[in-house]
Amino acid sequence: MTGEAAFAMGQPRSASYRPLPGIPDEMVGPDGLIRPPWRRLMAHLDALSDEELTRDLARADRYLLDSGVFYRQYGEGQSVERPWPLSQIPVLLAEDEWSRIAHALTQRADLLEAVIADLYGPNQLVASGQLPAALVAGNPEWLRPMVGVKPRGGHFLHFLAFELGRGPDGQWWVLADRTQAPSGAGYALENRVAMTRAYSELYAAGNVHRLAGFFRAFRDALRDQAGDRDGRVAILTPGPMNETYFEHAYIARYLGFTLLEGDDLVVARDRLMVRSVQGMAPVDVLWRRLDGNYADPLELDPASRIGTPGMMAALRAGTVTMVNALGSGVLETRALMAFLPQLAPELVRAPLAMPNIATWWCGTASARAEVRADPRRMVLADALTTRAPFDPKDDLIRAAALPPQALALRLDQGGGDLVAQEAVTLSTTPALVEGRLVPRPMTLRVYLARTAEGWTVMPGGFARIGASGDASAIAMQDGGAAADVWVVGRDPVPAISLARQASAADKRLIPGGLPARAADNLFWLGRYAERAEGIVRLMRAYHMRLAESGDAGAGLLEGFDPLFRQMGIDPAAPIPQRLLDNLAAAIGSAGRVRDRFSPDAWSALHDIDRSARAMAPRVAPGDDAARALSALLRKLAGISGLVHENMYRFVGWRFLTIGRLHERAMGTAALLAVLCDETAPEGALDLAIEVGDSVLTHRRRFTLDASRATVIDLLALDPLNPRALRHQIDGLREQVDMLPAANDHGALSPLARAVLRLHADLATADPDSLTTDALWSLRGRIGGLSDLLTAAYFP
C-alpha cells in the first residue's frame, strides 16, 4: 500500500509526519511523540476532512486578500506587490520555554543598549581594546554626527527583533540582532488574525497568549514619552515604494499614530514639526522605519530624498525621541557578534543566557587559525555586513568552497574585512504541502519593546519557513513562507484589547494634525475617482446609443466628439486608456494614505482597476460595452458608499469630498457648455440629461420635452439635484467653510471667498444668463479653486 493510499483511507495527518533524521523538530520530540503544546492542534487537524481543512484555510487566505496584506519585491529594475506568503500551520511553543527565551533576549537587549551607549558615548570598549577600532571607525552604520548626542529619555533602543534558530542540540541560538528598524511586527499581527479565521474554535480555547497586550504596552510607552498633552507620536516611513510600507500603514492605523514621510516634517527652532493642514504641529516621538543614514540629507547621506533636513539638529537639541536612535544599525554588524559573549559579563554582569552563533572576526591571527583549521564548518562574509545569514541578498562564501591556499591568502591579506561564522542547521516545523504535513526548516523572529517597566517581549512573533527540506540556514535564502507563532500556556489566557487599562493614567488621544501630503492625496483621490466615474458615464451613454441606432445614428454620435476631445478620450476603445490612467492615479493617491483609507475601499478600488483592465481588450462596442460599463459604474458607486458611509468626518474626509465635488462641478460645467450650446446637434440635450444621470428627475419636473432652459435649470441651477452644478458648489461651500483657518472671525480665506462668490453668482443666475461663455467662465473659476486650495493647505 502506498503512502498516498493510506492517507486517502483516513490515516490521520499527524501520523504521516516524519521529522528529518538528526534534526530537531518543533512538533515531534526525540522520543517520537508529539510535544504537549501541539497535541490539540494535531487532534483538530486529524479530525478534519480534506474539504473541511481546505475550507477553513481558505478563510485565512481570504482574510489576507481582503485586507490587502502585501509586501513589495524588487528585481529587474522594477518592484511588484506580492501577496503575503502565510504558512497555514502555526509554530507552537510551550509557555515555559518561551519565558526562558524572553529572559535571555531581555538580557541581550540590555547588553546591546550598553554597547551602543558606549559607541556613541565614551568609546571605552575600543579604548580598552575590547572592540577593534576598525569595526567602528570603518563602519558605514556608525553615524558620526550622533557621537556625543544624548538620546532624549536616556535610551538609544526601544524596539528590537532577534532572529533565532534551534541548533542540533535543541538549544536556541541568536542568528541576528535587528536593531535598525525591525520590520514584521505588523505582519505578525496580520498572521495572527488570519490564523484565528482558520482555527477559530481551537484558538479561542487553546490557551494561546494574545499579542494585543504587547502592542498596547508599547503604544502607551511611546505616548508617555511624548510627555505633555500636545505631544505627538508619529511613524516615519520611507514611503509607498518601501517593501514593507503596507506594514507601516497598518501599524499606524492599529495604534492610532500619524504616518509621516520625511517631507512631511520640518525642523523649526530645533523642534521637529509636521506640516499639517492645521499649521505646524510638533512631534515628540518618532518611530522610524527608514534607515538612519537617510534621516537627514544635510548631515547624513546627502543623496537621501526621503529624509528631513535638520533632523540631526532636533536630535542634538534633545527635543525628539527617536525609536530607535539614529545609528542603531551599527549593532547589526555581523562581526560584532564575535565580541558580545566576552562583553556580557562586564556590561550585564552575567554570561549570555542564550548564545549567538559562533563568530570570528578574522582581523586577529588566532581567529584566522581557527577558520583555517576547520573550514568545513565555516561561512565567510564581509565583516561589516548587517544582513542576516539567511537573507537572500547576503553574500556568503562557504570557506570549504575555496582551495586552502586561496582561503589562506584571503584571510591574511584582508582578514580585518572578513567575518567567519559557523554554518548552522535549524530545527524543522510542520508545513502543509499538497495536503500533507512535511518538515521544513524555520527561524524565529522575536520582538522586544521598551516600556517604563523595562523590556516587554511579544508572546509570539513570526517564523520564517524554508522552501525545501534542507535544514541549513543558508538554504533559507531561497525564500519560503511566514508562519504565526503561538505561545501555549497551561491555563486559559485572558482576552486583551487595545484599550488602555482603567487603572492607567487617563490620557485622551488627540487626533494629530492631518499632514499636508495626506490631505493633498485625499483631494486627488477624490478627483481621480470622480473623473473615472464621469468617463464611465459618458462612455456608457455613447455605447447605449450605438447599440440602439447602429451606424444609422452617426449624426447623433457626433455630438459626443467635443466632449471626448475635452476629456482627452479616444472613443475607439470602449474602455479608454484615459479611464485606466485615472484608476491607476486614484490607486496611487490612495496608496499614499493607506493609514487613513479603509481597507475595504482599498480592496474595492483594486477590484475596479482589475475589472477595467480585464475588460479593456475584450469588450465589443455597443451593447457589450454598455453592460460592462454599467458593471464598472456599480462598483464605483460601491466605493463612494464605503467612503461616505464609513469614513469618520475628520478633516481628511473633507479633502476627499472637496476633490470629488470639485471634479464633478468641473465635469458638469463642461458637459453643459458643450451640449447646451446652440451649435450642438439635435439630441444633445437628451444626452446631457442622460450623462447627468437625471432622466427620471427631468421627466418628473418638466412635462415637456427637454429644452435648453429645462436642462440648464435641472443640471446647473437646481440645488436639490445631487448632480447639478449648484449642488456641488453648495457642498464645496459647506466643506470649505469647515477647513482649518477658512474663517477667522469673519475674515474669509481666499479660497472661502472664491467659493462664496461662485455660490452667489450661481444662486442668482437663470438659464438665459448662463450662456455657453458663462458656463466656460464658471468652469475656469472652479478650476482656479484647486490652486487656491493647494496654496493654502499643501504648499
Partner: protein, 292 residues
C-alpha cells in the same frame, strides 16, 4: 604669518526659493601650535530666520542657518584674521611602510584625529583600482611614509593638469583621474584614494592659500578660490603630515586650514536644502592678504 581673509559666496535664483536650511563650514580652524584665529565673522544677506552653530565630529566649526522663503539672491561673507605658523620641520620621523600596520593596531582612540576614520573608502572616495595601481607604482621603494606621501603627491601632480572647468564638484574621482585634469578637490581626493589603497590613512583638508605669494616666489594654483589638500598619517611617532598635490609641496605657512574630513562631503563649505523652482547660479571669491 598673519593673514586677513575674505570669502564670499553669492547665489542668484531665477525664481523665488522656498524656505531652506544651510550648513556653512567656512570658519578657519583654531589649531594650537599651528594656526590661531584672532577674529572671524560671518554675515548672511538677507538675514536668516534662525542662526546657530555647532562643532561637528571632526572638530570643524559649523554655522547652521534657516533661511526665509522667497529669496532671489543670497550671500554669505566670511571675514577674519588668522595667524598661521609654518611647519618647517625637515626631520623625517615617519614610520616605514612595513611597520605602519603595527603602529595602527596600537591606536585605540576614536577621537576626531584618530587615523582609523581615514582608512576605508568614504562616500566620495571609493576604491579605484587604477588609482591603487598608480599609487603602488609611485610609492614603490619609498623608505619612509613621508617619502611615500611626497612620491605619490609628485606623481599625481605630474599626471594631472590643473583645469578649473574640466570637472564639477560631483565628478567621480575615477573620471577625473582618467581625464587627467581637474581642480584641487580632484587632486586631493585622488591622492587620498591612493594613500588609502596602500594602507595609509588619508584625510581631506579644506582651506585657503595666500593670494599673493611672498616676494620672489611664484603664485600658487588655486589661490583665487577655496583650496584643498591632503593629510596623511605616517605612524605613531610622526603622526599627521600635510601635502598639497595641486602644488606638489608640503603644507606650510602659505596655507590656512578650515577643516578636516574623510572627503569633500565632510567639509563642503556650503551644504543646503532648499526648494527651488527654477535655475540657480552661484559664484565664490576669496581674498587672502598677508599683513606682515
Amino acid at each position: 604669518m598673519l593673514y586677513r581673509l575674505r570669502l564670499s559666496f553669492r547665489y542668484d535664483f531665477a525664481r523665488p526659493t522656498g524656505a531652506g536650511r544651510q550648513l556653512l563650514r567656512i570658519t578657519p580652524a583654531d589649531l594650537p601650535g599651528l594656526q590661531e584665529v584672532q577674529q572671524t565673522a560671518i554675515t548672511v544677506t538677507p538675514p536668516p530666520v534662525e542662526r546657530s552653530g555647532f562643532t561637528d565630529f571632526f572638530g570643524n566649526e559649523v554655522t547652521q542657518l534657516v533661511l526665509p522663503a522667497g529669496l532671489t539672491q543670497l550671500r554669505f561673507d566670511m571675514s577674519g584674521r588668522v595667524l598661521r605658523h609654518g611647519d618647517e620641520t625637515e626631520l623625517d620621523l615617519s614610520a616605514s611602510p612595513a611597520s605602519l600596520a603595527l603602529d595602527l593596531a596600537e591606536i585605540t582612540d576614536l577621537g576626531p584625529h584618530s587615523p582609523h576614520h581615514f582608512l576605508r573608502p568614504s562616500p566620495r572616495i571609493p576604491h579605484v583600482p587604477a588609482i591603487a595601481d598608480f599609487a603602488r607604482a609611485a610609492c614603490a621603494g619609498a623608505a619612509t611614509l613621508r617619502d611615500a606621501v611626497q612620491s605619490l603627491g609628485r606623481a599625481i601632480h605630474a599626471h594631472m593638469r590643473f583645469d578649473s572647468v574640466a570637472t564639477e564638484v560631483d565628478t567621480p574621482i575615477a573620471d577625473a583621474f582618467a581625464g587627467r585634469q581637474g581642480v584641487c578637490q580632484d587632486f586631493s581626493q585622488i591622492m587620498v584614494s591612493g594613500l588609502r589603497s596602500i594602507g595609509v590613512p588619508g584625510a581631506y583638508v579644506s582651506g585657503f592659500l595666500r593670494t599673493v605669494p611672498p616676494p620672489g616666489r611664484p603664485r600658487l594654483e588655486g589661490a583665487d578660490a577655496m583650496h584643498a589638500w591632503v593629510r596623511a598619517w605616517t605612524g605613531a611617532e610622526a603622526g599627521w603630515c600635510e601635502y598639497d598635490p595641486t602644488n606638489a609641496c608640503f603644507v606650510g605657512a602659505d596655507h590656512v586650514t578650515i577643516g578636516y574630513g574623510r572627503d569633500y562631503g565632510d567639509v563642503a563649505p556650503v551644504t543646503g536644502s532648499m526648494r527651488l523652482a527654477g535655475s540657480q547660479s552661484g559664484s565664490h571669491s576669496v581674498d587672502i592678504v598677508a599683513e606682515e
